[in-house]
């Protein structure tokens, strides 16, 4: 069964709400973000950051699996993640 953007939304929204994080209110950006995450779950089996190049190996990519190790530094510096 393929993973959809809606599946990603339900899972990540629940985690974000539980941990005090939030998503962009820009609808097009949010749709692209969720589609990118869904594509990477399909491709790699885990939600690799859609804006980072993965090695395709879960151990090597652990730091860039969403929510990644660079989220909080990015939020602190830019107010959003890259």
């Amino acid at each position: 069964m393929s993973i959809t953007a809606d599946d990603i939304w339900r899972e990540f929204k629940a985690e974000a709400d539980a941990t005090g994080y939030g998503f962009t209110d820009q609808k097009e950006e949010l749709a692209w973000l969720l589609e990118g995450l869904a594509a990477n779950v399909e491709r790699y089996g885990y939600p690799l950051c859609p804006c980072r190049m993965g090695a395709g190996d879960i151990a090597a990519d652990r730091d860039i699996i969403c929510p990644c190790d660079y989220r909080d530094p990015d939020l602190n510096e830019f107010g959003q993640c890259y």
Binding site: E29, W32, G36, N40, P50, C51, R52, M53
Partner: protein
């Protein structure tokens, strides 16, 4: 690289992108909306030596190899920086 035709052809614009990346899509959309001609490569869709070649080109502009990396007339712009892009492109 794939070429996107546009009315504004005054700059040599290359976008190194990922097909999954929202910031890369925003970069392409900014150029599309302003009818800027550009080339792009979705590096995650490349395989083998083509991917390696693209990554080494990116590294010259951006040693951290983050996306998008944009070359405007050979000068690197790292990430979706709307103001910086508009200035470089004269928009």
């Amino acid at each position: 690289m794939q070429k996107v035709e546009g009315e504004k052809k005054g700059h040599d614009v290359k976008i190194y992108a990922l097909s999954t990346c929202m910031w890369c899509k925003k970069t392409k959309k900014l150029l599309d909306d302003n009818s800027v001609e550009y080339e792009f490569e979705d590096v995650d869709l490349l395989q083998g030596s083509e991917r390696e070649d693209a990554l080494s080109e990116i590294e010259k502009l951006n040693p951290k190899k983050t996306f998008p990396t944009i070359a405007v007339d050979g000068k690197g712009i790292i990430g979706f920086k709307e103001d910086e892009l508009k200035e470089a492109l004269g928009l």
